[in-house]
Structure formats: structure tokens, C-alpha cells
Symmetry: C2
Subunit: 344 residues, 2 copies
């Protein structure tokens, strides 16, 4: 696979900066809202034809350099039998939040037979994509644990941190099981043809570096190590992780995702050598007029040149109220402006 | 005023590290829940006898080195006529969220006559406190703006950032008015006897340093400058602000509050010379057993020694489920451990 995205992840020269957008598929697209009508979120993630259609929708609008499998981070949890659903306007809601060690029995290993729809959708997508990369998708161990412990979305994840501090034995047992499930979920996607993977440890930025290093990193490292031999770039992303960038790379990622709170030039100084970066336009900038937006896109490209490799993306997911026309314009602008930049 | 708290804020030698806790008054105390029964939050903030009682409650339990005026950051907004209320379990809810410049007419200057209950409560408290410092309380301009723009609490403040990027004229007009209101609110508290002030720009950590410097700092600086001649230490706090610490100090604070995501030793390296630090125990640690908690308290004290002055506090407010007995124990431990540390 010689696409610009894969080359940038491997820190090889690229003809232009590759670009994709977290949540490029989903609520910002009218055609997404149409196909989802009357279908619950987790149902849409388990119907291969819908997963395929939704994953491909943004590629019909934008000249992005990758598709990302449409899924939800709780899909593998539900697949192993956890009582979890996505409540519209709320997010994941867990029937029996995890409180003590006995709750760990809700988590068993994930087998390919648990998620046949994933294998089917990925295979169909790889055929449709004709060489364009497909990024596999999974939630990171802290973020998955936070949903199971809080019982749903949470602003500050205090119950999660309290359990992490107060019951390290249960914490490590829980994250160990989640790491196994995530590893299996990503292996299944790669086996079916995914050409890169992104681990979304979205909420891990609530931890200090010391706590991240002892409580989360060993589990993320097991996931990345298990994928090391598969030849696919591994991207690692979380929000508000400016203090954790080095560690999130050191966990075994090839590419470290950066949110908008720190420039890519500074991020490049924080990660170890041998890492590419992904990011980091503030998604709220997509709601601003083009004369405000354009110099900020250019700034991300300029700062990204300090990194050994750069995949242009947002610093978090596309907001539902985003105009798809703006994403199309940003995509083309990134390609053109970065192609000019490498010319003599 | 020669108390340890004021001395630490001024980076003078102290007999022991002073300590107080954000939200030390409030939901974690059964006596608070009793006096609040049947009384709406904003009503409780406008009855001087209740404000006084609630502010003093934690001082009957803990040997903390300061009281902080019990209030809410929307109190001055409601006092100038903004249709805002605190919805139990939700937070501030604004009747007519700010969308365009015409909404600015909802904000007029704050006069002492708008908040007689504040003057009365502060005077009563200063009498009761017999020399122990009373910290005045106000919300910072970004955080106040975020409630007015979002219409209520928000996870990522996207509407706020979108308005900041997309309509800088309205943004600066809004923050200018909020800075005037906040300045007046804090002046009233100091005039009545408050011996320090804390500006809570709680949610400003969603901004990058560049955006903070251009969009918020000038307004915060006006607030701090207006208080400069009053002789009270000025504390400046926000959550997730590890990238902003230098700027939040440079805005004119004497003391920079730090959340738990970055150690005080590292924070001390990030702020300019001439700043004290406040913080930064993770409030979720108070839910852990003492053998877990004690070394973390000690670590905060150790790292705090790198700062020119250190006020022990949490990295954010006391969680409602916190055992008051633990806060009492932490208070005593901080005093004892830090007193030992300065002895030969």
C-alpha cells in the first residue's frame, strides 16, 4: 500500500499532506441522517450493508485520503454480552455499571464469530475502496473502562479515577480484559483488510502523566504490541492529552493524534523520534467564515512540517452542525497548499 | 494580614503550607444539605445569613487557612438582570442564550446596590473570621461567556469557540462587559473586607495558548489590573490549563491555580518568576483509602516546594461524595508534614 496516508504514517515522503476527518461519516451528513432514520445506533453498527454505506458516504463528497470504519467504541463490549446501548442525545448507557470484581464476569474474550458484520463490512469496503486506505476503529482501555464504571458519559470521570486509585487490582484486571477485547476487535478488522488502525482513548487526558504511565500505558502497549507484526500503521488519539503525547507514542503507536490545544510543532518536540503526528484543527473553526478558517488550516500545515510525518485531521470529531461543503473545501485546500509547499 | 495563606500568596516564608479546598462549602457537607433544603441555589446565594452560615460551615470541621465566599459564578449576571437560574443536577440555564450583538443589551454594569447581600455577607464573615482570610469569588470572562453562549453547561464549549472564532467583534464586546461586571463584583467583595480573590475561569482550558492570549487574556488582565491597587492577592484558576499556566499568571495573577494533570514542580517551571502556585491534589484521590491518599498528598507538598510560594488545594472542587473526615485529616496532615519539612 503506497497511499499518501500510509506513507505519512511511516514518515516517508508524500506528494501532498494526506487528510481525513474524525467523524467524517455521521451526523453532519444529510445522507447519513436519512439512512439512519428509525434505526438505532448500535443496530446500524451491526448491519454490514449500513456500515459499508455510511463509511463510504463522506468519500463521495470529499477527496479524503482514507475511510474509517463506521462503528462505535462500545460495539465490541455489546458483542461479548455487556448490557450497553446508545441513548440518542446522551451516549452509551450501561445497564449494570462496574462496581466490584464480580462485574468483570460481564467481559469475556471476543471471537471473530461475535462480530461477523465487522468482517463482512470491512471486506466489502476494501473492495469498494480500490486501494484507498481503510482505518480500523477501536476504543482505548481507559475510555472503555470509563463508560463501564460511570455507567454512561461523564464530564470528569471521577468514579473512574476513584476506582483506578482505590482498587488497583480490579482496575488492572478490568483494563487487561478490555485490552484483550480491543486487540481481538482490531485484529479482526486487519484480517479482513483494514490498512491502518486508530485506537481512540478519547478521555484519557483526565490523567496526569504519572498515572497514565502506571495505570493505562501497559494495557495500551499490549494492544499495540499485538498488532506490531501485522504491517499496519497504528494511530493513537485522545482529547486534552498534551501532557501525555510522549507516553501515548511510547505505548507503541506509529502516529500520535493531537487535539487543538497544543501546536503540532510543540507536539513534535514532545514525542520521541520515530513518530508521525495527526491533527489538529479545532473542529469549531469549521463553523467560522473561510477568511478565518483558511489561515488556521495553513497554520496546521506549517506546524505539521516540524513533525517527521503529518496526517491532517481535526483535533476532535466533526461537529454535527458542520457544513459538508466546508470539509470539501478544507480537503482540497490541504492537498493543494501542501503540494505547493513541497515543490521547489 | 499576616496569615500563612496571605504570606504564601506573597511568596513570603510560612510556618507551614496553608490549605483550603475549592468547594469546601457545599454538597459534601450534611449540614449544608440541611440548610439548603427547599431553598433554590441562587436564592441561597442572595440571603446574607445563609451565605455566611454556609461559608463558615467547613471552618467548623476543618482547620483550613481560609474561607471562600459561598456564591455561584452566575450571581453577578443574575444581579444585572440576565435570565439565568441553576437547575438542580444540571447547572446554570440561560433563558435567552447569547446569539448576536443585540443580546449584549442583557448585560449592564454591576453596581454595589445590585448585590447588597454580598456586602452584608462579606462584612459579617470578616467579623466572624477574626483574622482568618476570606477569599472573594468570581467567574472568569471565558467561563461566564460560555454559559451565556451555550445556554447552559457544555462538555466542549463548541458554540463558544465558534463565536470566538467567527465573530470577534461580538466576542470582545461580550468579554469586555463581563470583565467590567466581574471587576465590580470583586471590588465590592474587597471593599467589604475580603482579603484575597480567586478568579475561576474554570473552562478556559479548552483553548490553545494562542487563542487564549488574543481572545481572553486582555480581558482577564483588565480585571486583575483593576484590583492591583487593593492589596489583596489575586488567584487565577482553570481546569485543564497546563498549556496556559504562564499566560494565566502573566494576565496579572499573584497565584496560579493548577489542576492535577501536571505536577506543581513542572507548573513552577512554566510560570514566570514572581508567581505562587495553588493546588493540586486530584479530588478523586479523596475517595481512595488513606494509604493511597497519604503519599499523594506528600507528593503535592514535595512538588510544591519547587514553587516560590505554595497554597495547598485540590486540582478542582470537592466531589459531593467526599467524606468530610478525610478532608479534616488531609488538612491536619498538610499542616504537620509541611511544618516538619521546614524545621532543621
Amino acid at each position: 500500500m503506497n497511499s499518501p496516508l500510509i506513507r505519512a504514517c511511516r514518515r516517508e515522503p508524500v506528494p501532498y499532506t494526506p487528510v481525513w476527518f474524525m467523524r467524517q461519516a455521521g451526523r453532519s451528513l444529510p445522507e447519513y441522517r436519512r439512512v439512519r432514520e428509525g434505526i438505532a445506533m448500535l443496530d446500524s453498527c451491526t448491519r454490514p450493508e449500513l456500515v459499508t454505506e455510511i463509511t463510504l458516504q463522506p468519500l463521495r463528497r470529499y477527496d479524503v485520503d482514507a475511510a474509517i470504519l463506521f462503528s462505535d467504541i462500545v460495539v465490541p463490549l455489546r458483542a461479548v454480552g455487556v448490557d450497553v446501548d446508545i441513548k440518542p442525545g446522551v451516549g452509551p448507557v450501561v445497564g449494570r455499571p462496574f462496581r466490584d470484581v464480580s462485574d468483570l464476569s460481564q467481559l469475556r474474550p471476543l471471537e471473530p464469530g461475535d462480530v461477523p458484520y465487522i468482517t463482512e463490512a470491512v471486506r466489502a469496503l476494501v473492495g469498494e475502496l480500490a486501494g484507498r486506505p481503510l482505518i480500523g476503529f477501536a476504543g482505548g482501555p481507559f475510555t472503555l473502562a470509563s463508560y463501564l464504571i460511570e455507567g454512561g458519559p461523564s464530564k470528569n470521570h471521577e468514579r473512574t479515577r476513584a476506582l483506578m486509585y482505590g482498587n488497583p487490582a480490579m482496575w488492572h484486571a478490568l483494563l487487561g480484559r478490555l485490552a484483550d477485547i480491543t486487540t481481538a476487535f482490531l485484529r479482526i478488522q486487519v484480517a479482513a483488510g483494514a490498512t491502518a488502525v486508530q485506537l481512540f482513548d478519547s478521555w484519557v487526558g483526565v490523567l496526569s502523566p504519572g498515572d497514565y504511565a502506571s495505570a493505562v500505558l501497559p494495557h495500551s502497549r499490549r494492544i499495540f504490541d499485538a498488532l506490531a507484526g501485522l504491517g499496519v500503521p497504528r494511530i493513537h488519539f485522545g482529547v486534552g492529552t498534551s501532557e501525555l503525547l510522549r507516553l501515548m507514542g511510547a505505548a507503541g503507536a506509529d502516529v500520535v493524534g493531537v487535539d487543538w490545544r497544543v501546536g503540532l510543532d510543540e507536539a513534535a518536540r514532545r514525542v520521541d523520534a520515530g513518530k508521525a503526528l495527526q491533527g489538529n484543527l479545532d473542529p469549531a473553526l469549521l463553523l467560522a467564515p473561510w477568511p478565518v478558517l483558511e489561515p488556521r488550516v495553513r497554520q496546521v500545515l506549517d506546524q505539521g512540517r516540524v513533525a517527521e510525518g503529518h496526517v491532517f485531521n481535526l483535533g476532535h470529531g466533526v461537529l454535527p452542525q458542520t457544513d459538508p461543503g466546508v470539509l470539501a473545501r478544507v480537503t482540497d485546500f490541504v492537498h493543494e497548499a501542501s503540494a505547493w509547499a513541497v515543490k521547489p
